[in-house]
C-alpha cells in the first residue's frame, strides 16, 4: 500500500538540470531502505518554477524541495520518507506572508510563486503522471468528452464554449466558440481539427509544458472540438525540437486509442474521431495557421492569403478548426464545469486565465498561470520574485517577435488582450521577457528583428526585403552611424511592412521596433545624436576608461585584458588604448579600486 508519493519534475527544464538521474537515484535509495511498496515515484510535467529545478515534491505533506542534487537523495529518503523529518535545508522557502508553516513543512500553494496563480490550463501539470491515462481519468479526465457526447448536442457544446468567453490563446485572441461555429456551419464530406503546437517565440514554452505535463487534455479537447464541428480527424502540429512533448503526446494518443477514447463509436454513441501527430521542422512561419496547414499537407511551409479562411477551406481544402495548445487545454473544464466557471474569472472582455513563460532578468524563471486582469507588477514583483541583483525593472517584452514592450510606467497595467493591444504590445502566445536597466532597448528591437529576418519565409516582398532593410537601419544606429533621418525612415518602413505583408509574421514584425521607439524614444535619440548607448550595451558606442586618480597601478587589469590594450608601469596609473579595446569588460570586473568605468 502506497503511503507517500515522490513527484519529480520530468519537464524539459528539470530534465536538463538532471531529473532523470534523480529518479534513478530515488529508486535505488528507496529500494535500499525497503520502501518500494510504500513509496511511489511519479515523473510529472512542469511545476512551473523552472529556475529552482530540479523540483521534487513529497506527498501527502506536499513538501516542496528545490534544486535537489544527486547527493541529497539519500538524505531525503532516509530522513523524510523513512523517519518523517523534512530536510529543511532543501525546502523552497519563499513563503507567502500569510501562509501557515507547520513544523518546517512548506506546502506548494503557500509559496509566493504559487499563491497568486490560478491553474486551469496547467491544472494537471506537476500533479499527475502524464504518461498514465488512468491518472488523467482519476482527475476527471475524459468526463468532459463523455458529457459532450452523451448529454449535449454539438450546438450546445459550441454555445458553452462561446458563453465561456474563451479567446484564442495563441496570441490572436479570436473567440474560440465563434471559430468553431464557422466550421460547424460549413457542409463537407470531411472536416478537420488542427492543434497548433508550433511554439516558436523566443523564450516561450507554455505549449510545450502542457503537452509534456497533461497531453490527454489536448487529446480530449480535440475530440470534443471534432464532435462540435463535425470533424472526424485531427492533427497536432508540434515542433520536432520538443522530443519529450512528442513522445508523451504519442503515448497519450496510443493509450486513448487502446481505451477506445479515440477511434470508432466512442462511448457507444457512434461518434468517431482519430488523431495524428505531424512534426514541424522548426520554421517560425509554420506557426501561422495557413502555413501550418500547408506544411501538414507535405508542402513547403508558406502562408497563403485569407480569405478563404480555414473554416471554409483549410487542411486538404476542407473546413478546418485550428486552435492553439493552451486554448484546447481549457476546453475540457469549460465543458465539465460550465461556461460560468470560466467566465467568472478575468476581465470584461478577456475571460479565464493565461499562462506566461517568465524569462529574462527575473528571479523565478518559469511558468505561471494567472487570471486575466492580474497586473504586470504582481507578475514581476510577487510571482516572479523581482529582478536579480537589486536592479531596476525597465520593461517587459510580451508576445515575442510579434509583440512589444511594456515600460516601467505601465507596470500597473491589468493584463488582458485589449489593454496590451492599446499599448502597442500584444498577449502573443505568452512569452514574457523581463528586462532590467542594463538592457538597451534599441539592441532588443534589433535582436527580435534579426529573428524575423531569419524566419521570414520569403514569399512576399514587404516582409522579405522590408525586415532586412529595417534591420540594417537598426544596425546602423547601434553602430553609431545613425541620423535623425534614419529614425523617420525607420518609422515609415515599419508602417509599410505592417500594412503590406501577406501574413501575421510580417504584419507584426515591426512591433518590437515601434513599441520600443514609442516608449524609449530618448534612447534612440541618444544613440543617434549623442552617439551614446545609455544602458552601456552597444559596443561600438562604448568606451572603457581608467580614472588616473583612482588607479593604484596594481596591473590586474593589464594582465586580464585579452587583447593587450592596457598599458602602464607598476604603481603608475594605467591607460586603455581605445583602438585596441574590444569592450569585453574583463578589466572592469577585475579592478578592485573602482577606477575603471564604461560609458
Amino acid at each position: 500500500m502506497i503511503r507517500a508519493q515522490v513527484l519529480i519534475c520530468g519537464g524539459t527544464g528539470c530534465t536538463s538540470s538532471g531529473s532523470p538521474k534523480l529518479i534513478a537515484e530515488f529508486e535505488q535509495q528507496i529500494e535500499k531502505n525497503g520502501l518500494q511498496d510504500e513509496v511511489k515515484i511519479v515523473r510529472t510535467g512542469c511545476f512551473g518554477l523552472c529556475a529552482f529545478g530540479p523540483v521534487v515534491i513529497v506527498y501527502p505533506d506536499g513538501t516542496f524541495y528545490s534544486r535537489v542534487e544527486l547527493k541529497d537523495v539519500k538524505e531525503i529518503v532516509e530522513e523524510h520518507l523513512l523517519k518523517g523529518r523534512v530536510v529543511e535545508r532543501l525546502v523552497y522557502n519563499d513563503v507567502a506572508a500569510d501562509a501557515v508553516v507547520e513544523n518546517g513543512n512548506v506546502s506548494l500553494n503557500d509559496t509566493v510563486f504559487y499563491a497568486k496563480q490560478k491553474r486551469v490550463a496547467l491544472r494537471n501539470c506537476g500533479v499527475i503522471n502524464p504518461e498514465s491515462i488512468d491518472e488523467y481519468i482519476a482527475m476527471d479526465g475524459y468526463a468532459a468528452l463523455g458529457k459532450a457526447l452523451t448529454e449535449m448536442t454539438p450546438e450546445e457544446v459550441i454555445k458553452t464554449v462561446m458563453d465561456s468567453g474563451l479567446r484564442g490563446r495563441g496570441g490572436g485572441g479570436f473567440p474560440t466558440g465563434l471559430k468553431w461555429s464557422f466550421t460547424a456551419k460549413n457542409q463537407a464530406d470531411q472536416k478537420y481539427v488542427v492543434c497548433n503546437a508550433d511554439e516558436g517565440d523566443p523564450g516561450a514554452f507554455m505549449d510545450r509544458s502542457v503537452l509534456e505535463g497533461d497531453p490527454h487534455a489536448i487529446v480530449e479537447a480535440m475530440a470534443i472540438c471534432g464532435y462540435a464541428t463535425g470533424a472526424s480527424e485531427g492533427y497536432v502540429y508540434v515542433r520536432a525540437e520538443y522530443p519529450i512533448a512528442v513522445a508523451r503526446l504519442q503515448k497519450a494518443i496510443d493509450d486513448a486509442r487502446a481505451y477506445g477514447l479515440l477511434g470508432d463509436d466512442i462511448f457507444g454513441t457512434g461518434f468517431k474521431f482519430d488523431l495524428f501527430i505531424r512534426l514541424g521542422a522548426g520554421a517560425f512561419v509554420c506557426g501561422e495557421e495557413t502555413a501550418l496547414m500547408t506544411s501538414i499537407e507535405g508542402n513547403r511551409g508558406e502562408p497563403r492569403p485569407r480569405p478563404p479562411y480555414p473554416a471554409v477551406k483549410g487542411l486538404f481544402g476542407k473546413p478546418t478548426t485550428e486552435n492553439n495548445v493552451e486554448t484546447f487545454a481549457n476546453i475540457p473544464q469549460i465543458i465539465l464545469k460550465g461556461a460560468s466557471f470560466f467566465n467568472s474569472m478575468g476581465t470584461e472582455r478577456s475571460k479565464g486565465t493565461k499562462v506566461f513563460a517568465l524569462g529574462g532578468k527575473i528571479n523565478h524563471t518559469g511558468l505561471v498561470e494567472i487570471p486575466m486582469g492580474t497586473t504586470l507588477r504582481e507578475i514581476v514583483e510577487d510571482i516572479g520574485g523581482g529582478i536579480p541583483n537589486g536592479k531596476k525593472f525597465k520593461a517587459a517584452q510580451s508576445g515575442g517577435p510579434s509583440g512589444g514592450c511594456i515600460p516601467a510606467s505601465l507596470l500597473d497595467i491589468e493584463i488582458d488582450y485589449d489593454n496590451l493591444i492599446a499599448q502597442g504590445a500584444m498577449m502573443g502566445s505568452g512569452g514574457l521577457i523581463v528586462m532590467d536597466e542594463d538592457t538597451c532597448m534599441v539592441d532588443i528591437a534589433k535582436f527580435f528583428l534579426e529573428f524575423t529576418v531569419d524566419e521570414s519565409c520569403g514569399k512576399c516582398t514587404p516582409c522579405r526585403i522590408g525586415t532586412k532593410r529595417l534591420y540594417e537601419i537598426l544596425d546602423k544606429i547601434t553602430n553609431g552611424n545613425g541620423t535623425l533621418e534614419d529614425l523617420d525612415e525607420m518609422e515609415a518602413l515599419c508602417k509599410y511592412i505592417k500594412e503590406n505583408s501577406l501574413c501575421g509574421l510580417g504584419q507584426t514584425a515591426p512591433n518590437p521596433v515601434l513599441s520600443t521607439y514609442r516608449f524609449f524614444k530618448d534612447e534612440y535619440i541618444a544613440h543617434v545624436v549623442e552617439k551614446r548607448c545609455p544602458a552601456g550595451v552597444c559596443k561600438k558606442l562604448l568606451s572603457i576608461t581608467i580614472d588616473p586618480e583612482k588607479c593604484k597601478g596594481c596591473t590586474a587589469c593589464a594582465r586580464v585584458c585579452p587583447v593587450g590594450a592596457i598599458s602602464g608601469s607598476v604603481k603608475q596609473p594605467h591607460v586603455i588604448d581605445q583602438s585596441k579595446c574590444i569592450k569585453c569588460g574583463a578589466c572592469l570586473e577585475k579592478c578592485r579600486f573602482g577606477a575603471i568605468s564604461k560609458r
Binding site: G84, I128, E135, A138, Y259
Partner: protein, 121 residues
C-alpha cells in the same frame, strides 16, 4: 470505451491513488517515525493505518503522514490524530492491531478509544 460507466469505474479505481496529492483531508493522522519510533515498530503501524484508511474509503478525508520524535520515546509507537475544531488525540504504544481499531472506531466511527490514549505522565 463503450460506456460512461467504464470510465467511471477507472476513475474510482484510480482516485485513491492520486488523492494523496490533493492533501485536502479534514483529519490528519501523524505517525512518529523517528529512530525511537521505528525501533519500537512504527513502520508496520504506519502501513496499517494507510491501508485501513484506504479500505475504509476515507482517503479523501484523512491524510496520513509521518513526523519525527515528539519526545515521549518510552511510549512509541505514537500516533496522533488532528481534527479541525477538536483537541489532538495522542495514541501510544501502538500496534498494527490497535491501529486497525483506531481507524474503524475513531476515524470512521468518530469515537476516540480512550484505552489507548496517553495517560497523565
Amino acid at each position: 470505451m463503450k460506456s460512461l460507466a467504464e470510465l467511471q469505474a477507472i476513475r474510482e479505481k484510480m482516485q485513491n491513488k492520486v488523492v494523496l496529492r490533493e492533501g485536502s483531508g479534514d483529519i490528519r493522522v501523524v505517525v512518529g517515525m523517528a529512530t525511537c519510533g521505528i525501533a519500537a515498530g512504527a513502520r508496520p503501524v504506519l502501513n496499517t493505518v494507510v491501508e485501513e484508511v484506504s479500505k475504509a474509503g476515507l482517503s479523501d478525508k484523512v491524510t496520513v503522514t509521518q513526523t519525527g520524535c515528539i519526545g515521549i520515546c518510552q511510549f512509541e509507537p505514537v500516533v496522533e490524530i488532528f481534527e479541525a475544531g477538536k483537541s489532538k488525540v495522542t495514541y501510544v504504544k501502538m500496534t498494527p492491531e490497535k491501529a486497525k481499531e483506531v481507524v474503524q472506531r475513531h476515524l470512521k466511527g468518530g469515537a476516540p478509544i480512550t484505552d489507548y490514549v496517553i495517560k497523565d505522565i
